[in-house]
Symmetry: C2
Subunit: 246 residues, 2 copies
C-alpha cells in the first residue's frame, strides 16, 4: 500500500431530491471521479442526500473530517430548495450573508433592478470562504476550509472544477494498466489472481466483468503509485491470462 504521506483523499457529496427521485440522472460523479484520478487524488466515498438541512449538515461534517477534500454539487441556485450554502455555514459554525464579491459577479449578468431577493440568495456566502468563479452564469461557488461547493448543472460544475484545479494538491499519481481477459471466465482465473494480489501489497488488482453482445468480456485492472511494482504485477497477470487462454 502507498504510504499515507503519498495519499491525498477526497469525497463527493451530491445534494438534490431530483437525483434521488431518478428524474435527473447524475453526471457529475463520473466527471469528478475522472478529474480526481488524473490529479492523483483518491476518491474514497460518495454520498447523495436530499435537499434537507439536517442530512446535508451531517454529511458535510462526516466527510470533511475524514478526507483531504470534499466536493459538493447542487443546491446553490436562487430557489427555496437551494440550501447548500446555509448548510455548509451551519456545518462549520460560521455566519452567512450576502457577499459583496459575489454580488459584484451577479451584477455582471443581471441589471441592478433585476437583482431581487431570490437572486441575491446566490450571493449568500459563508463567512471566510473563497469564491469559485462561474464563467457560465456568474453565480459563484465557494471553498470553505477543505470543502468545495459547486453547482449541480454539469456544464457549470465542470467549469468550476477547472477553475479550482490549480488550487488542489495532488498525491503521487495512481498509475493503472488494463489487461484484457476477454472471453476468459472470471471463475477460471479468480484463484490465481487472488494469489497475485495477495503477494503484492503495493498494487491494487481488480477484475471487472461486463456483459456485451458477444458475452462476458472481463478486464483486469492493476493500479499502483509505484511504476516498477505496477509493471511487475502487470507481467504476472498477463502471464496468468496467457497460460489460461492457451
Amino acid at each position: 500500500m502507498p504510504q499515507p504521506s503519498e495519499s491525498v483523499t477526497a469525497a463527493i457529496l451530491v445534494i438534490g431530491d431530483e437525483i434521488l427521485s431518478g428524474r435527473t440522472k447524475d453526471k457529475n460523479i463520473g466527471t469528478i471521479a475522472d478529474f480526481l484520478t488524473a490529479a492523483g487524488i483518491d476518491l474514497r466515498e460518495v454520498r447523495i442526500v436530499p435537499d434537507e438541512a439536517a442530512m446535508i449538515v451531517e454529511a458535510v461534517n462526516a466527510l470533511r473530517a475524514r478526507y483531504t477534500y470534499l466536493f459538493t454539487t447542487g443546491g446553490i441556485g436562487p430557489t427555496h430548495d437551494d440550501i447548500t450554502a446555509d448548510c455548509v455555514a451551519e456545518a462549520f459554525g460560521v455566519g452567512i450573508d450576502v457577499d459583496e464579491r459575489a454580488r459584484a459577479m451577479l451584477l455582471e449578468r443581471h441589471k441592478p433592478e433585476d437583482l431581487n431577493a431570490a437572486r441575491l440568495r446566490m450571493a449568500r456566502i459563508p463567512f471566510g470562504a473563497d469564491l469559485i468563479a462561474n464563467p457560465v452564469s456568474k453565480a459563484p461557488g465557494f471553498r470553505l476550509g477543505n470543502v468545495h461547493v459547486m453547482a449541480g448543472v454539469p456544464g457549470i460544475m465542470q467549469a468550476m472544477l477547472d477553475s479550482i484545479a490549480p488550487t488542489l494538491t495532488g498525491g503521487a499519481a495512481m498509475l493503472s494498466e488494463t489487461i484484457e481477459a476477454a472471453g476468459l471466465p472470471e471463475g477460471n482465473y479468480a484463484g490465481d489472481l487472488g494469489e497475485i494480489a495477495k503477494a503484492r501489497p503495493a498494487v491494487s488488482i481488480g477484475s471487472y466483468p461486463a456483459m456485451t453482445p458477444d458475452g462476458f468480456r472481463n478486464r483486469i485492472v492493476v493500479r499502483s503509485r509505484d511504476a516498477q511494482a505496477l509493471a511487475e504485477a502487470r507481467s504476472a497477470v498477463e502471464a496468468l491470462v496467457a497460460r489460461l487462454s492457451a
Copy 2:
C-alpha cells in the same frame, strides 16, 4: 408532509473501486431510483464506497438501521476483491459459508469439475439469508433482513431487481407533475415559488435548471402523495409561470 406511516424509505450502497476511480460509470443508481419511485418507496440516501471491508460494514450498518430497505450493488463475483457477502455477514454478526441452494444454482451453469474454489465464493451466503435469483449468470444475490445484495453488472442487477419487486412493500405512491418554466429565469420566480411551497406542507416543490443549446430551460416539479393537494399546487405554479411570462 406525508405521515410517517405512509413513508417507506430506502438507501443504495454501491460497492466498488472501479466506480470511485471513474473507470466505470455507474448506471445502477438511476435505474434503482426510477424503480423505487415507481414503487412508492422514497430513496433517501446513496453511498459509494471502495472494496474495503471496514467501509462496507460501516455503511451497511448505518444505512440498514436508518431506512426501511437497503439495496447494495457490486462485489459478489468470484475474485479476491468481491467481499460484499462477507461484509454483510460481519455487519449482521452472522456466519457465512457455501450455501447448498446457491451451489445448485451455480451447477446449472457450470460443470461440477469447473466449480473451483473461486466460483464457490459466489455461493458463500450469510446464514439466514434468502437467495435472489440471477437468470443471467446464475450466481445469486441475497436478502438478509432489510438488506438486498445485488450484482454490479447492470443487466444482472436489473434482473435481480425485477425478481425482488414483488417482495417489497411500497408506500403511498409519490405523485408528481412537471411545469415547464421554459425560458423564464429561476431568479424571476424563485421568491414567489418559495411562498407557494411554504404554504403547502403536503407538497414538495423543486426547481431544476438545465442548460440546453437554446439557453436555460427550467422545470418546476411538484410532488405529493395527496392527489388533490398536488393538483392545487400545480395550478398555483402554472398561474405564477403564466403571470411572469405575460
